[in-house]
Subunit: 306 residues, 2 copies
Amino acid sequence: MPDRFPADGVVERVTIWEVGARDGLQNEQSIVPLEVKAEFLRRLAEAGLTTLEATSFVHPDWVPQLADAEQLLAGIDRHDGVRYPVLVPNERGLDRALASGVTHIAVFASATEEFARRNLNSDLTGQFEMFAPVVERARAAGLDVRGYLSMCFGDPWEGGVAPEQVADVAARLRELGCSQLSLGDTIGVATPGHVERVLAAVSARGVPVDAVAVHFHDTYGQALANTLAALRAGVSTVDASAGGLGGCPYAASATGNLATEDLVWMLDGLGVEHGVDLDKLVATSLWMAEQLGRPAPSRVVRALGG
Amino acid sequence: MPDRFPADGVVERVTIWEVGARDGLQNEQSIVPLEVKAEFLRRLAEAGLTTLEATSFVHPDWVPQLADAEQLLAGIDRHDGVRYPVLVPNERGLDRALASGVTHIAVFASATEEFARRNLNSDLTGQFEMFAPVVERARAAGLDVRGYLSMCFGDPWEGGVAPEQVADVAARLRELGCSQLSLGDTIGVATPGHVERVLAAVSARGVPVDAVAVHFHDTYGQALANTLAALRAGVSTVDASAGGLGGCPYAASATGNLATEDLVWMLDGLGVEHGVDLDKLVATSLWMAEQLGRPAPSRVVRALGG
């Protein structure tokens, strides 16, 4: 653990939204056994993570890896104070989530026209009509709904994305009933000034900073510097993936999600509370790397696990 | 190249002190041929880097990889506006540097007692007596002298290092005649608040920020976030290694120097001038990785070179 040196202007406490079990595993080619997934979630909870995105109710044909969502949710050993959100793409997914007794869901929106077309078979405004009944029914059933916004900092087909467009999508998802918006740098191209600019635009559209999370990819090595910029802007929920598992199939390299361990190292150094036991987390990622048959991308895992 | 979004409070221009040819190669086990080293330097200069630390005049028994320092310096194709500093450990090394027509040298000091004992066979104060005649004679001969300070943020034997101790060593090296001090996080444990704290301590000891450089290692993934903190504190010289070559043999993993490409990506995004052509630099690191027979650690190189 690093020495503790608080920095001015950084939030005091951060909630880590752990996406390893869903975002981390969804692009794995070989199917991870159900019991390994359950054990992964159990270990993550024991390491002190309190938000574990568990799986996704997308159609099994799209993401075969997560076709066991019902069985996984039925079998996991739920820890007190831990929430297990699941991704829900549409009303059919919501039906499955409700039948599984889920309390937190997330919808996956796009900040750009082209990604909305390719990923949602819709368009930038059409997606709100798609999500409206999902969010409405989920809220009516007492569920909490997060909205993911992908391609907030660049799109592989469109190139640059206007911060005001991101802010507009964020505000509209919030109006639909999303309690939190996770701004995703899906292809990893953001830099710290860009992060500040997008957060300012979102704030100017009336979305409070405590309803905003950030989701950075480390494709170009920028994820932690971008996180620092977000923490200074008041963001207190950060998405990360244990061991750095996963990534975006549309990004230029296999390097993907910000590693939870690298984030925890920085937060420990900054004296920001997060509740995670780094040693237990590293042990979990080393164990998971063994299951997957290759080393974790996280620098901290490699340094401490060697 | 990322979209350009300047951030408040960041310097406008940065000098990249490229250490790949010296710090990057010195720990390579198999000897890199002289002509490959010369070609590496030529390509780095053509990519727009203006400070190329070329080699070291340490005793060949210590660093066999750099035993060809004289031949390399005699043979390199010097570019206008590019300086080729060399590391000089003692007066014998200075004699060799002077005989080679060098104009810029660097001495390698320690911020801690234990590393001074192990690396210099001296102690924290004794090292100044060691370096005094080297710096004095170099200055008298018209050479510019940089001082490296290693272990500024932590020491593998001592643990924590007081920022005031770092500041004291920096101030004393400056009094000896070093024009610039490079503060090294040799084992990669620093975090952004720690960087701010050390820079403030150095400044409080009367060392101007434009005489300070930073040298971060990416052992725990913190190098770029730490660099961002340094840029906000006014530092305008950043050490980096093309492709992320090299590292510290005392650090916990093989992950070492901040990769020049990852730094350039962030600087491009922040709109900070640096003069480097990213594509040419990536091509150089890909070429060097081929010579060394393994991929470059740099995330940008992996993303753009794939």
